[in-house]
Symmetry: C2
């Protein structure tokens, strides 16, 4: 079957609390009717973005579509990775967010750095959240990538989970070897376009981040972030 | 030093044939003056995109800048990879071309597929070439990524170098293991948004392309192409 023929895949965060029939949001109703061109009676898949996967049967379309949950199951995340990233140039973070979500990254954490600040606005966060939802549908994932607002390195340091694995994208580092397997959270850190300051680098080293070279040339911030995520995505559960 | 303070890096394809003073193209002259904000007397680096790296001293700026070649050396390519790719949706190939060039891919080969054709126009090829030049400057590489016009699978098959290594991005494949080392050409093939047809898949298998799973979810064409390239870029010479 060509990929387009696969059943549609929706993001329905309220899935968990309504086990029988579910009313879809304005956005998912629109997506279902206009993008998927679904019909009443069609079967579609839906996730709550927190591990649940359901088979739905469409009851009605319209401004708010309705569907019957025919089967639902839940699974835990088997692998976890966060990407901390200084600001790249321009709007280059947008496609990065989309690609990280496709690759299965758990959380996107923009970092405020000494040499580059994010243009922080609610509009940016909302746009990233929409991109993460679109990527979730596209890649048929059960977990929605979390979009975190920009924080300083010290604030981010306070969120590091116990036992996590830590890498810093750095052309001066060694090659990373095989990607990590198993459930420990992996954190990949990438500096802004102008690089981390010496103080930030010292702090990252003290936090246990290990320098890792991702390619034999200089990479833009967003390319390094994506290359790290692609490497991580090659690992197995 | 912050990255911006590094000497400017130019693409000067005529470098080889003029060993003394060199006159820069309109585009590089503009880039040097307006983007790099260079001054006469500054030292800059330049490559011909075919392995030569030169240290130049700027003699004069203006519409056609002039520079003196102070040192020049040449090296061979130590690793080679080609990406063959069916058409993704919309203009998603643009940033893919940029990222593949940053990662050091040797040649970008768009594939005409049964389920998707490229909107083939000279304008697209020219835009991709400009993106490849910008990425070459950015990543300070000695080799310009070659932009090939779209061809059919059979035409592409006729270009496969002897002894090359061949992968097909395919969620049903196994994990790829360690990236290849050494000078053999690696070819990564990715289907269009709608996937390869059964006939195309059979042909690729007959050509020795090995299915490789790049992530645990469904990837868009451009994401799969980039993930394959990032994996390849982790290999050593």
């Amino acid at each position: 079957l060509p990929a387009e023929a696969a059943p549609s895949f929706l993001w329905v965060p309220e899935l968990a609390v309504e086990p029988g029939a579910v009313e879809l949001s304005l956005e998912e109703s629109h997506y279902l009717a206009r993008v998927c061109r679904a019909r009443p009676g069609d079967q579609v898949f839906a996730t709550d973005g927190r591990g649940r996967l359901a088979e739905l049967r469409i009851l009605s379309l319209g401004r708010r579509a309705r569907a019957e949950v025919e089967r639902i199951e839940r699974s835990d995340r088997r692998r976890r990775a966060w990407v901390w990233c200084g600001a790249p140039e321009g709007r280059r973070a947008d496609w990065l967010v989309e690609k990280l979500a496709e690759l299965g990254i758990e959380a996107w954490q923009p970092l405020e750095c000494e040499r580059a600040r994010w243009r922080n606005s609610q509009g940016v966060i909302e746009r990233w959240r929409r991109l993460a939802v679109a990527a979730l549908r596209q890649s048929r994932r059960r977990f929605l990538m979390e979009i975190r607002p920009p924080v300083t390195l010290e604030e981010a340091a306070g969120t590091i989970p116990e036992g996590s694995l830590r890498w810093l994208a750095d052309a001066a580092g060694g090659r990373g070897g095989a990607p990590p397997a198993g459930a420990a959270c992996a954190i990949g850190v990438v500096g802004p376009a102008a690089g981390f300051s010496a103080g930030e680098r010292d702090r990252l080293a003290a936090l246990g981040f290990q320098a890792m070279c991702l390619a034999d040339g200089r990479l833009r911030s967003e390319t390094a972030a994506l290359a790290w995520a692609a490497w991580w995505a090659l690992g197995e559960a």
